[in-house]
């Protein structure tokens, strides 16, 4: 038994070292993307934009473009109504009917796409989706008197070019401006952090930008003089695609804990009960021995 006493700690030490080393401990220095985090959702922090976020609203402002990108939650299960409510809260005015309203299916659910012409200088584009009776709204609001900017996401149709969103750019330009798509320039490729975008313009200072991601085209249209449309489009879609809701799955954790603790308790109880059973056996044996004596 002396050998056993010495061997126990030694064996444990060997097994412990071997077991941990087998996992290849190797930390990598990965780039950290700054995120706005609230209890309700997470959204990327936009580099170069003024951070105007509050506890439950992620809001970033770019003074050059007089543009705001905002992510908020509204206690309304109808995402179209929720988006309108959030925009009205931000703008401090009542909105009329949107100039564009559609639904798209993205990887994380169905989103409603809304575009408003608020007044002569102000446009508001929003995408919203419903989750657990609330509406999560990602919106783009600009009030630059020199230009009107519209953001939208349009699903691909059978007629769409799989590699180029020119059809959707044309549709967006026709929807949001009075420009003719017959006068559009040849498509140009614009490289942005989100990917390769296609840009088309016409002589009336109308610019259309489009990017294909998944089964949808992400679009930005500017009606007027603007030199930073790619930056605005990239920022809005970074927010849109980087947005996510932390899932509420605490009940699975509770299930896991119950099963883990339950298994350990069963193991401990089985040892205790078997030991008690042996004690009873021993008592019987002792009784029999005494009877024999």
């Amino acid at each position: 038994m002396k050998t056993t006493r010495f061997l126990f700690p030694l064996l444990w030490a060997i097994l412990s070292i071997f077991g941990v080393n087998a996992q290849d401990v190797a930390e990598e220095d990965l780039p950290v993307v700054p995120y706005f985090q609230s209890k309700m959702f997470n959204a990327p922090v936009l580099d170069g934009w003024e951070n105007q976020s509050t506890e439950n609203i992620a809001q970033f402002y770019l003074a050059d473009a007089q543009a705001t990108i905002r992510t908020a939650v509204v206690n309304n299960g109808d995402s179209a109504v929720g988006a309108k409510q959030d925009l009205e809260t931000f703008l401090g005015t009542t909105l009329d009917e949107p100039i564009y309203s559609e639904k798209v299916n993205l990887a994380d659910g169905t989103w409603v796409v809304l575009v408003y012409q608020v007044d002569e200088n102000t446009t508001a584009s929003a995408m919203a989706r419903q989750n657990d009776g609330r509406s999560y709204v990602v919106s783009f609001i600009e009030s630059n008197p020199d230009v009107s900017v519209y953001m939208a996401t349009i699903a691909h149709t059978d007629d769409s070019d799989e590699n180029n969103p020119i059809l959707e750019i044309g549709t967006a330009i026709e929807t949001f401006t009075s420009a003719s798509i017959d006068d559009l320039s040849d498509p140009e490729i614009v490289i942005l952090p989100t990917g390769e975008w296609t840009q088309q313009t016409n002589g009336d200072n109308v610019t259309g930008l489009g990017w294909i991601f998944g089964n949808d085209s992400y679009l930005a249209v500017a009606d007027g003089t603007i030199d930073n449309l790619p930056e605005l489009a990239n920022a809005y879609n970074t927010t849109l695609l980087g947005f996510f809701i932390t899932p509420d799955n605490g009940h699975y954790l509770i299930l896991g804990l119950v099963i883990s603790l339950g298994t350990l308790i069963i193991l401990a109880l089985s040892i205790i009960l078997r030991a008690r059973g042996l004690q009873k056996d021993l008592a019987v044996i002792q009784q029999l021995t005494q009877d024999d004596d």
Binding site: Y252, L264, L282
Partner: protein, 250 residues
């Protein structure tokens, strides 16, 4: 007269064998340390913003596997030593290792399945690591069933020692398979995950703060405490069986 002396001596051994002070202390320390790791995992470590609260199950899931690894490792050592020395002590240690390791392996398998439901949207998938973990559990369950099926004690100990040594292949396979088979979707918690991994997360300092103590408790304290208790039970059981045989033979 000799038989009676032997019987009395065994009874005396059984009756006057209180739990060693070290085991008492170890048990208390293990319980407190386990509660401590639960507090770290549930209340101190931050919530994973992508996976939500279910990620916290990793502070049990992964350490439970390493606890099983330690316990099954004890079975291998017990098996080798029994085959070498032919001392029953080693066989008792081996069976204690299997029983404790199997409980830990079941915890590992079930918590993994519970994590997969919200993250992979399925309770189970025939991923290489999941499959090898299931085979590991079945292999050691078969150990316990086979053990009860062999009558001759000497033959049983020899056969189960060999079985316990070879069964460890299933543990090593489970441990290393995600490094060997690139088609796995199982994440690696420490180190780089395979490209196909789904539900992976980076082991940040916050994760290590909860995972480190949990690993130590599950890897060392819990197997040591449970195996020691289970070993004592096996000793007790053997002594009483000997006594019964003596009584019957008189």
């Amino acid at each position: 007269m000799t038989a009676k002396t032997n019987k009395n001596s065994i009874e005396a051994q059984i009756e006057h064998r209180p739990m060693p002070a070290l085991l008492r202390i170890l048990t208390i320390v293990t319980i407190l340390a386990f509660i401590g790791t639960l507090i770290l995992a549930l209340f101190v470590a931050g919530t994973d913003i992508e996976q939500g609260d279910i990620q916290r199950i990793f502070y049990i899931h992964m350490p439970a596997f390493f606890g099983a690894f330690t316990a099954f490792g004890v079975t291998v050592i017990g098996g080798i030593m029994y085959l070498w020395k032919r001392n029953n002590t080693w066989d008792k240690l081996a069976v204690a290792g299997v029983e404790v390791g199997l409980a830990f392996a079941i915890i590992n398998l079930l918590t993994g399945s519970i994590w997969a439901r919200p993250i992979w949207n399925t309770w189970w998938t025939w991923d290489p690591r999941l499959t090898s973990a299931a085979i590991m559990v079945l292999t050691y369950s078969a150990y316990l069933m086979l053990r009860t099926g062999i009558e001759d004690p000497s033959r049983k100990r020899g056969f189960m020692s060999v079985y316990g040594i070879f069964a460890f292949v299933s543990v090593l396979t489970t441990l290393f398979i995600i490094r060997i088979v690139p088609e796995t979707i199982h994440p690696v918690i420490v180190g780089a995950s395979p490209q196909n991994a789904q539900g992976t997360f980076e082991a940040t300092s916050g994760v290590f703060m909860a995972l480190g103590p949990s690993l130590i408790v599950w890897l060392i304290l819990m197997p040591m405490t449970f195996i020691w208790h289970r070993y004592r039970l096996e000793n007790h059981s053997e002594a009483i069986n000997r006594l019964k045989i003596q009584l019957l033979s008189e």
